[in-house]
Symmetry: C2
Subunit: 354 residues, 2 copies
């Protein structure tokens, strides 16, 4: 590994000049800069991030903390993956790399639990992305600190902490309106995990739209789920066994929608004939489910990109206000909702557009 000193010796200048030349400082003549750059190329010089971070107090790394544990969705959920690719592109474009906090060894030197804030300080990350948790006190400390943070799908805030979310309310309303336009009056929902903000928001959006449309709100048409397919299955069984079962269902996630379809099939109820179903997310496999899923697409990749971009701004400009952004959702009409006119063609068309 060649160092800046070796470059200095071999080119007959001081280390300071080499550093300036490589960093594009204007205080060095064009001639010597070229000489030094050429030498650096030749010797395959690579600067040491550690040394640079140590003195400049900038690491060009942003941390990603996603709360993990038995109760937490972890990064197994397709949602995180999609957000992650957006994040990668977003931070990458700004010259940052991503650090995934994984180490389970105590903070360092001595025992004690591994606080996320400590990990962040330890690595000297320039900012952090917060994902997949619900009021974890550790995360709260991080959000309350002076480290630039952006939460994805949680309405955390702090002096330097913002958030990015999908328009969950509006999306849920979209779904309800769609079902209503198809003639349904008895519309039920299986909710997401209500301790999470998106879960709660989608339920709110559902209720608001039901009311706005003048439909009769019924408590028994709201059953609580947890985003995973098993809860969709159980919830739907419960709904279909009511005396007056719903004719349409809004499931707060595609996975629950898949569970719902399975439940309906088992009870001999056709989808969309006996029960029209709309999901939420538009995960990659939504179109593989039979019947193909009508769903509310949230652009998870965009979520990641927006978060990254907002975080970047906060890092560059210490005066910048924390980002607070909602990204739009969009109804994708496929088969499961029973849209009458040539659903297949319509679905294809809307995919072409994309």
């Amino acid at each position: 590994m060649t160092t800046i000193q070796q470059l200095a010796e071999q080119s007959g200048v001081s280390v300071a000049t080499v550093s300036r030349a490589l960093n594009g400082s204007s205080e060095v003549s064009e001639a010597t800069r070229e000489r030094i750059v050429a030498l650096a190329q030749e010797l395959d010089y690579t600067p040491s991030a550690a040394a640079r971070t140590l003195v400049s107090r900038r690491s060009h790394v942003v941390g990603v903390v996603l709360e993990t544990g038995p109760d937490h969705p972890d990064l197994k959920h397709p949602f995180f993956q999609e957000v992650l690719v957006g994040l990668k592109h977003g931070v990458g474009a700004q010259g940052y790399d991503l650090l995934l906090f994984a180490s389970e060894r105590p903070g360092n030197g001595f025992g004690g639990t591994h606080s996320y804030l400590r990990r962040a300080e330890h690595h000297g990350v320039d900012g952090a992305i917060l994902m997949g948790f619900d009021g974890d006190p550790e995360i709260a400390r991080l959000a309350a600190s002076s480290l630039p943070c952006v939460a994805v799908d949680a309405d955390l805030d702090g002096p330097r902490t913002g958030y990015v979310m999908s328009e969950n309310r509006e999306g849920a309303a979209l779904a309800v309106r769609h079902l209503h336009e198809l003639g349904h009056e008895r519309i039920a929902t299986v909710t997401g995990w209500l301790r999470t903000k998106p879960g709660a928001d989608r339920l709110d959006g559902f209720r608001e739209e039901v009311e706005r449309l003048g439909l009769e709100p019924r408590d028994e048409y709201v059953v609580e789920g947890d985003f995973y397919d098993e809860s969709g299955y159980r919830g739907t069984r419960q709904l279909l066994e009511l005396d007056e079962p719903p004719t349409a269902l809004f499931a707060a996630s595609d996975q629950m929608a898949a569970g719902a379809i399975r439940a309906a099939n088992e009870l001999g109820v056709g989808v969309p004939g006996g029960l029209a179903v709309v999901g939420f997310d538009d995960i990659a496999l939504a179109s593989l489910i039979q019947p193909q899923l009508t769903t509310v697409r949230q652009n998870m990749q965009a979520l990641g990109e927006v978060a990254a971009e907002g975080l970047g701004r906060m890092i560059e400009d210490s005066e910048a206000a924390p980002v607070r952004r909602l990204v739009p959702t969009e109804l994708i009409v496929r088969v499961s909702s029973g849209a009458t006119e040539a659903p297949r063609a319509k679905a294809l068309e809307s995919e072409e557009v994309d």
Copy 2:
């Protein structure tokens, strides 16, 4: 941010002693150690990874490079996500964090493309995980270097580079044997992307087992796909339009299997009645597909964990041979293959076990 020096001053010892105390060196008395540790707790001391890395030449970070680009699966594929959670747990248990190379800014200081090897050296990662590529020259350079590396799903090797893969051959054979045991003689396959090792291996396994069972190998029963569902759809249409169409299909990925089912449905061929289908992967949503997918499970999470563990060993012990491991695959019988005896119960049972 408190430093080791402040701890030294306030506790009346030298920095050397503080360092030793916090690192568990035996050269410090128990009394002073306790005093220092207590002080560190109180002042919320966090060591600087940058400084530590600089001098000790160990970063306790492992890099993750996944080749990205138009032609590459990128991290959008569910496969990577699952591997990633295994990786996270695996490296975390050994005290490492994960660095996802994202930055699109040129190496540093001067222009030139961002070599992965350079990035790795720049950050001083202790090792690297290689994923999702096929003979990329940049990756090859990395594998040829002296940096400990483990490739996932590619048979790279080098002085300090090993690999971890699923038993793709055996898995494919499992699928063929299962279909044969159900009475099928005309068994076809839609392959994965043959430039990748798993794609090629699954095809090999298919062919070997066909031969071993004494079935007639037919070239027109092998159609090339790319792991994604669209290719499964097209390939299956092609197969079903043959004069003598197959009665059973091995798709080299679950997504292609889903595409195959869609194609069969469109042509009025029932699954599993008209065409028995077996997939590969057992992605999380395989059981959401209708009919539920019989598939060869590869334990992607284990893949990540094994890779992490192997990498850790190579890092700790510079004499250690590069890890070369195949992790077992397993047939998961659900509905799509038309297994006769109570397929539903069997499927549930095998999920309970999990």
